[in-house]
Symmetry: C2
């Protein structure tokens, strides 16, 4: 990377907070939640992603952890030196407070940070279910306009995680190669991610309600309900309920449309999708199959202008198009498809992706100097406002802001903080996450 | 009091649609966006889901379609009678306006509905990219405080869809059975869903900013950037960039932890996950493998308290636990696991899911009498507020509210609307989506 380029990247990354405290609090279109204070007692993906998303919108988000960190503190992937890429990735731009969450004293301090935080505070985001001390009732007694959002596994408060919710919802039995027996889990933790975004949205909307009425909200976002609602909205559940059909396992074909993956002469896989008649005609044309498609249509009495008919005859169509893909190089295929309306892309590995201009020359990514990881390109918010992205900001070290928060927010003196540290009620000092 | 301020007060105070035509606009914790007016020019998943999510929060959302419907109007799944379950599922609780979007007259009417809609209107949500007439510049000339959100395939405005973005981002090469060659697409359109939720959040946050400053926002949410940001946040890209590692294809094993699927004596598949030492000890215990695990730990010098060590030795551990699963019935396995801390669930088909109390006895689902589909259980918002869900509401028929909207919002007379209909500038009447 040249100096000029580095300078531009740093400029895009924006200024580092001079005192390392984290929050940039100027209200702007890019930071519309500036001024809000959110406390997050969390672990793993959904709740941390919700908090990080609120931080990207300008909120001051304090992640609270027990001494030594929560159960996600050493979650893989790790660097060669053992730092959790996962933890830093999901906690960018937050402040960190560490306290002994098993003692009444530690609990009281955290409850005060949640509730004694000005008119735009009083917001708790948590996936730590069933802890009375930070349950709605206990905190709403301290602060009636509390916004309390709890992410649980299931609506009854019982435990479930993305992997188990996914198994229970139906997708793994229709994912994977058509000939495969048994479940195929997807790798993206889609329910965690979806749940985290619903949670960020619910808090933002609850703030609008509180601004207008003064009333708080008690919000629940169960992972299981997120998965069920999504499976319902997308028609998977409704189809089963109304039509009594089980959707088949289709490999990489697209249900009810024509889409498939193909492999080039030099072994590169392409995903090809046709959603409209024009897409499909272009695909037939570019693969030199237009006459053969027309002949098939006539012989079969099949109207390929109908997306369902294209789906029904997907195997013969795939067989027809396959020859062209197999006999052309990836470069030639890409050139030819680029001149059409067909929707397509080449499959890539994560290692290929990070080397592409799509990442290296994308304002979504800025160079982040994350102490435990070293400099790397990290994503900010995928939402740009007036042409700008909220850039990636450094994730805190565990407990990094404990003393700042106790001093500035609760007005504790340095001596009082030192006493709490000595008693073990709060994190003794900045603790390396990788030391356990 | 200025017009804008008055409008805000009205919106916050809440009002009921005087002629009872659908939108319940009383502000409440469950409907914190009551009073907002959002126009959606959309198709497929991301933008319709964003609009539906805003409607669930109380906004009045008008979906605008061209005459005959957009490209998603007949999208599968369909009922036996040919109605699109997909379309109704993603457009619940909206109003529908149909106009000829190819003519200047039709475009002008829609632009007026977007911009002449009171202080809490002026919000456009669209995935129809590159149409100058509803681009930011054209609409902001009519209404400077416009909130304009565009969902595109890629940040440069070029076309991409969930399937092609997914291929280009890395997940299909690490999804599926370990021995499989070639890409395995997942079935959930995760980037569409995620993109839609980011969009709903961005609009909600932009409204907060406009309420505070009077300024609008020009917002872009490219599918590709949503996928890249998520892959980055979750560590997939960062791991590849920092460590130069390609993550292996792991089947249903969980990266960096111990988790796997197992099959019972009677052929039922279970997903089993251990995220903590306690989970893992409980799994060893319940499967009668505690002594064998201890012996392995000693012989291998392996500390199974470390999640990474459990991952490294996942094959031998799976081999050990498999015997117990294979020799017990699903019922016995479920009973035994229920008494432990282990995270687990049984794989289910969509047909099984819809028959479970988890759907049939879940307040998330209510009976919806959707004319084209018939009565069925449909999900509302998966977010509950103060114990209540925003329930599913009927999806409109295409063009159902055209005349209402032109009359009430633009003040057009019945004669003027009849003329527009006769000229074909707006939908001639309620059109059945299934008639094309």
């Amino acid at each position: 990377m040249g100096d000029r380029e580095r300078g531009q990247r740093q400029a895009r990354a924006g200024r580092r907070d001079p005192d390392g405290r984290g929050a940039v609090t100027e209200l702007s279109a890019l930071r519309p939640l500036a001024g809000l204070r959110v406390v997050e007692i969390s672990s793993f993906v959904a709740a941390p992603l919700a908090g990080m998303t609120l931080a990207q919108l300008g909120a001051d988000v304090i992640r609270v952890d027990p001494i030594g960190g929560a159960a996600d503190v050493n979650r893989w992937p790790l660097t060669e030196q053992g730092a959790s890429i996962y933890w830093t990735g999901l906690n960018k731009g937050k402040r960190s407070l560490v306290a002994d969450l098993r003692t009444a004293e530690g609990q009281d301090l955290v409850a005060r940070v949640i509730t004694e935080s000005g008119p735009n505070g009083g917001i708790l985001l948590t996936n730590a279910v069933g802890r009375a001390w930070h349950g709605y009732e206990a905190l709403a007694r301290r602060r009636p306009d509390l916004i309390h959002l709890e992410i649980s596994g299931r609506a009854d408060g019982s435990t479930a995680v993305d992997y188990t919710v996914n198994a229970a919802t139906g997708f793994p039995l229709v994912t994977g190669p058509a000939e495969h027996q048994g479940p195929v889990n997807h790798v993206v933790p889609v329910w965690d991610v979806t749940c985290g975004l619903y949670a960020a949205l619910a808090i933002t909307a609850a703030v609008r309600h509180r601004d207008a009425t003064g009333a708080g909200s008690r919000i629940a976002v169960p992972l299981d309900d997120v998965a069920l609602a999504t499976a319902g909205n997308l028609g998977f559940l409704t189809e089963a309920a109304l039509c009594g059909r089980e959707r088949p396992r289709l490999g990489n074909a697209i249900y009810g449309q024509y889409g498939q993956h193909f492999t080039s002469a030099d072994g590169v896989a392409f995903m090809v999708v046709t959603l409209t008649g024009r897409h499909f005609r272009d695909l037939a044309q570019v693969t030199g199959a237009a006459a053969a498609v027309a002949a098939l249509a006539e012989a079969l009495g099949a109207d390929f202008a109908d997306e369902g008919v294209r789906f029904r005859y997907r195997d013969v169509l795939t067989g027809l198009f396959t020859t062209w893909f197999r006999e052309h190089s990836a470069a030639d295929i890409a050139d030819a498809l680029a001149g059409t309306s067909v929707l397509w892309d080449r499959y890539r590995s994560f290692a290929e992706v990070v080397a592409e201009p799509r990442v290296t020359d994308n304002p979504l990514f800025t160079v982040l100097d994350q102490p435990e990881l070293g400099e790397h390109l990290a994503p900010g918010s995928p939402v740009s406002v007036n042409g700008e992205h909220s850039p990636a900001r450094v994730a805190p070290r565990l407990g990094e802001h404990t003393a700042d928060i106790l001093g500035a927010e609760l007005g504790l003196s340095e001596d009082a903080i030192a006493e709490l540290r000595a008693a073990g009620a709060v994190g003794a000092d900045i603790k390396e996450r990788t030391s356990s």
